[in-house]
Symmetry: C3
Subunit: 338 residues, 3 copies
């Protein structure tokens, strides 16, 4: 499929400077581009590659226009324009409606006739699969789970405990939504399991990465509001509430009943303790640990910087006596003042 | 299903103060309760909600009795009593015995006639499935694996390398038990795989969370003693030994041959190095790193507290010169004494 | 199967000191050994067990020869010799060629007649399965994915987005290779998904652990060079490049476009930020965070050591004022010089 450059520009609302009839058939990085490609410049890191690109057109901001050797697509947000053009050039493929004969669908499940159910998938009693849904191969949709319109479960996804997925939700392979929360009461040193009665409720336009887990709630529901994006290998515990349009990178763990605001970003492998609140527009850096509520927007960090191990050993020994060191300094100050 | 309040109180051994004939049909949080609900107060965090609760009865300790506006169920351990009542009101549903015709069961596997094998599950040669076991849809029970009486594999669980599960074990979706340990020998810069010959041996009443992995042993077995509780996304490496009734929260990683005591709690995303020992009754806080044996019970932590990023940058730069700083303070002390 | 000790010694190229006709039928640790076992001593930690071992032979280095109570297999690298002997005694079992009738194989897939496809596996259009490949039960091989000669997918492995596996690749249960990268562009606070067009390309002799995820590239490919070894629960983001013979332990996360050198080791639960480079022969210790490029070989660490929680609380409070403390020391130094 190829597009006239002018048509692409119009469809994504950017200004074309160059040949409107140029044909575009692919997207590529500045270095990987060839004639027919459209590329983009969204970070100064890649500026050195602009001059030598073989792309037919480059999406870029006004500041880089001067250095563009080929047709330019001017945008205030080149990365977004690139996302849009990529989607035009690579539209999601529509799957044929129908249920693969190898799948096991309970008679008490309701499957919209426009849905596509892949091979070797299990859909249990009372499950509801909406219009234009794609359930890929090897999935298990537990009893009374609901998948909203146009959602897409790539493959080997598990839904349990009456999980509810909104519309246009994408779930990647290995993800488990609605598994039991980790609810235990201690009986004289022995753990007693607490039945988990809530659901996992996933809003519209949420994306959930490969091997990510979202537990059901204990009494109330675990909730991901609309537009939340979860990367791979994330753990969301019971009763967590994540506000709309928050994006969370891989390997993050969020403990029970934490409440995350809207428009937050949590970088990779950060950890968030339970029963706390994080305000809107908070950014947590990678591998940071959040152990208290965050009430003000901003960027937050914990940890120490990487060092050669030999140097780290010396410093870390001192960390264990940091309080003592601070007291010594106070004593010295006192002495000198006295 | 509804219960007389008096009957519930007797079954779980708590003292009822209020109308014995009150009917209870549900459990709920203090805020989410409605008439017919029993709720509980186990943390002072929720005390403000007690007075306005719509619950018909509340499980609580003696100190909160005075403020309870409705029937009270007095207990020294309200959370435990709540767990017990929840289980009475929501008893696990018994599955019908039998093997779903879509499953693939090797003729050399032994399945107890009381077991229930769900759809599209594979059970390989020599596997043994005990009485009243539930193996949900999409599981793979590898050759010669054993599942003890009344255990429950929710869905899409994999057992391999002759893994042994005790009685009443619960395994959540995506968990892998008995996968090869990470055993490599270096041959002049190239890694040579060491066949992993041990098993994963899981005790009675263990619970294993979604997408958690427990590797088989290298030569001897990886062992989880009875009553161990593992949350989601945990990694247990080969030859680890976890003592009875230890509970481990999500995203924890335990390296090879570590030996964890009994009645420990390891909070989320903590990491435990290999070839070390942790005593009984040790508590490791979230995201802490255990790199040496812990010989005394108690609570242990590593890391630094979360800060606004701008402040963190200043402090973390100093951490890299902490040894130098400590030396300067010593020099100053010497000078002032001299 | 049993071997003459002399024959074993010759096959792995070690020097036998002892009875050449001794029969060996098993491998074991020094403590777990019995007559007929061959054991090994590769770490001084296990030296105390040498004298009392019941093994018939022990693989060890020249320094331990004197203390060996039984036949000795002399090697400069006892662990490697042990790996080789273990493989001889426990050779991988060849699976019978053929496609299990319960599997769903698209007519447009190409399966080598020598391959073995297990039960309830899905192989989609355009997939290519090479000679002597084993695809275990419950796998999903997505459209146009390729599995090279003699590779082994144990069970419940998912390949997507035209993933390419080299020869002799081993993939453990629950692993997902080629899932969409986490590519998002912000549109006024709402995330727009960027189609992920690259592949995951896995070199020869790579091993990938249980529940590990390797995303496909955004525009170019995610690449694991030959001999890379990944443990369980690892997350490899889009466009990461990992050099040959690098070994990565469990729970590590590597963010997008990071470039890791050859012959590196990354210990458990370390985190590597995106868009950086790590030189060859770099070793990152467990739970360390790499947030800048590492240009020199060596060992690197971040974090603080574990402490009793009460002590940690005092020290960590001081960390938040470390910059202030350093300034105070500078002021004191100035005062004393003045």
């Amino acid at each position: 499929m190829s597009w006239r450059l002018q048509e692409l520009a119009e469809r994504v609302g950017v200004t074309l400077i160059g040949d409107p009839d140029c044909r575009i058939d692919s997207v590529a990085s500045l270095q990987g581009a060839r004639p027919g490609s459209v590329s983009f410049l969204a970070s100064c890191r890649y500026r050195p590659y602009l001059k030598a690109t073989l792309a037919s057109a480059v999406i870029l901001g006004p500041d880089d226009l001067e250095d563009c050797p080929v047709a330019a697509l001017l945008s205030d947000n080149p990365y977004l324009a690139f996302a849009r053009i990529t989607t035009l050039l690579h539209p999601p493929q529509a799957a044929s409606p129908g249920i693969h004969p190898s799948s096991v669908v309970h008679v008490g499940a309701r499957i919209d006739p426009s849905a596509c159910i892949g091979a070797l998938t299990v859909i249990e009693a009372g499950a509801v699969i909406g219009a234009d849904v794609f359930v890929g191969p090897g999935c298990v949709i537990g009893p009374e789970c609901t998948v909203g319109e146009a959602s897409k479960l790539i493959a080997r996804v598990t839904l349990c405990n009456r999980a509810v997925l909104g519309r246009r939700v994408i779930v990647h392979p290995g993800a488990v939504i609605g598994s039991d929360g980790f609810g235990l009461a201690a009986d004289d040193g022995v753990w007693v399991k607490i039945p988990q009665l809530g659901r996992a409720v996933i809003g519209d336009d949420v994306e959930i990465g490969a091997n990510t887990t979202v537990d059901c709630g204990a009494l109330e529901d675990t909730v991901l509001e609309e537009g939340v994006k979860l990367d791979n290998q994330i753990q969301i515990a019971h009763n967590v509430h994540i506000g709309a349009h928050t994006a969370i990178a891989g390997c993050v763990g969020i403990a029970g009943s934490a409440r995350i605001g809207r428009h937050c970003t949590i970088a990779g492998a950060a950890g968030i303790e339970g029963h706390l609140e994080i305000a809107d527009h908070v950014h947590v850096t990678g591998m940071s640990k959040v152990s208290k509520s965050i009430t003000k927007r901003g960027t937050y960090t914990s940890g120490t910087p990487l060092e050669p191990n030999a140097q780290w050993l010396k410093n870390s020994v001192r960390f264990r006596k940091l309080d003592e060191l601070a007291r010594k300094v106070m004593a010295l100050e006192k002495k000198l003042k006295g």
